[in-house]
Symmetry: C2
Subunit: 325 residues, 2 copies
Amino acid sequence: MPELRIVLAGYGTVGKALHAILEQDRDRLAAAGIDLKLVAIARREQMMVDANGISLEAARGAWKPGDVIEAMGAVDADVLVEATPTDLQRGQPALGHCKAAFRDGLHVVLANKGPVVVAHQELLAAAKAAGVRVLFEAAVGACIPVLNAHRTALAADEVERVEGILNGTTNFILSRMAMEGSDLDQALREAQALGYAEADPTNDLDGWDAAAKIAILANSLLGRTVSLDDVEVQGIRGISRQAMELATANGYAIRLVAEAARQGPVRVAPRLVARGDPLDVAGVLNAVRFTTRLAGRLTHIGPGAGGRETAAAILADLAALAKDA
Amino acid sequence: MPELRIVLAGYGTVGKALHAILEQDRDRLAAAGIDLKLVAIARREQMMVDANGISLEAARGAWKPGDVIEAMGAVDADVLVEATPTDLQRGQPALGHCKAAFRDGLHVVLANKGPVVVAHQELLAAAKAAGVRVLFEAAVGACIPVLNAHRTALAADEVERVEGILNGTTNFILSRMAMEGSDLDQALREAQALGYAEADPTNDLDGWDAAAKIAILANSLLGRTVSLDDVEVQGIRGISRQAMELATANGYAIRLVAEAARQGPVRVAPRLVARGDPLDVAGVLNAVRFTTRLAGRLTHIGPGAGGRETAAAILADLAALAKDA
């Protein structure tokens, strides 16, 4: 298979983890017929370009002024990996990066949810018009292969319903409240201290991160065309210690569940989940359950976040492109 | 994509479920570009052949004397679906059917574990020599996409370890023992009454069914070459009501866990699994957990048996062949 030349937009936790994997796993990937070369990186107002490939050591050196668009213009490449910070309202600047990539004939692999939730149809149409592909396994459930599973194992089946624990931060907080008897503020501070919650936890606690992910799943797997505004969202701020104790005493966990079917409301809300149900995952794990026409209910559980895990999902998309190239 | 013409060996629960899906879902599958036609069926000493396709109604009519080999010789076909009863010791007669199919240039899709566990390397080599493919998603974990997931989502990753609850019968029995405080014989009779256990439950209770499945996973995903004799097998007959009560009181479930890594023993044995662990699935569910180099631990949970569910896994393999054809 031919070499796939990559431009990487965003060099935070996920971008750096991907870079490390590309270098450290190069021989293993090559043996699997997956030949990847990182030829440009762009981060806040800086870029680094080398058609011969950028090593981890080189990236510790001097960067030039520049941005993603300039980086794509400065080197021949096949795919843009979009791993800049997510903006759920406007999808920018990532959406602009995607459009520029399509104009240059590059495939796009997104870890960034923003463009997918803001402009799903537009992205697919623009990629199709440009004769390239847009993949975003890493945008939902990090490395849980929800979209890849659909493209392959479920290709002959039909997903009728998707439910999931799609936000690791709130699941960690709810797990701690149940286990420790702590209230939400205590559990939140613990999550922040461990790096599981951001300083501004609004997108997590109020359900918007989960809402963005279920919108993406609904649009990708269920033939829906929903935007973030169409999702009925209720977060976890109203969950009291008393409600948690009552649930625990009756054999239930309280979980922030996102759900969508082929028709009806797309929803994120706290729900009682019976202990032992596959959706009753603990800590920062995510879980996605498909109800399918033929195979019944299939649940996938795995880490919903993490630099290396998200990079693994990006890599799965890059491998799919490399194999089809 | 061209039409894929199917010869079906075995017309029990799984074979009939597949036939029903092929007829009832024909339009949906065609719309997804998957064009499948059942042109021959063979069951105990009888066959039915029709190059124009066999309807459910036709299959209720008169059959001719014949067998799988004759059926394959009587009609042009592209793939043999092997769904005859499993023989874990010799893999027959299914192994003979596979070899005959390869000689005729047919791909093979197996629901039957026998040939895969008895002759994994031989099957792969014979298929390669014939320029065809052999797929067996349905042989392990029914419709849980363990092998398809590996071929796609994990193509760029590396599976380091596989653990699983691979036998629904024993998992049902252990679940009932824990929930009802019943002993193994009571729970077994209940499982038999519900159709979850066979009259002769040896292969389930003594761990041989799970052993066959973990051998297949070890050979397929971990680069091992193990036979059934290489698996260290301990079944569940020794699990007393007292042991179960002790485990439950301490927050554990007893589960029959199959496990394999890239090195070391391949094993099936009862193990304590912490309540809330993704492997702590209830009833006849199966669970498979991959520990991977990049993505961490991924668990897939779903129905481990059932005619329609197993047929769905066969269909996933057929769809993969149709898309590559």
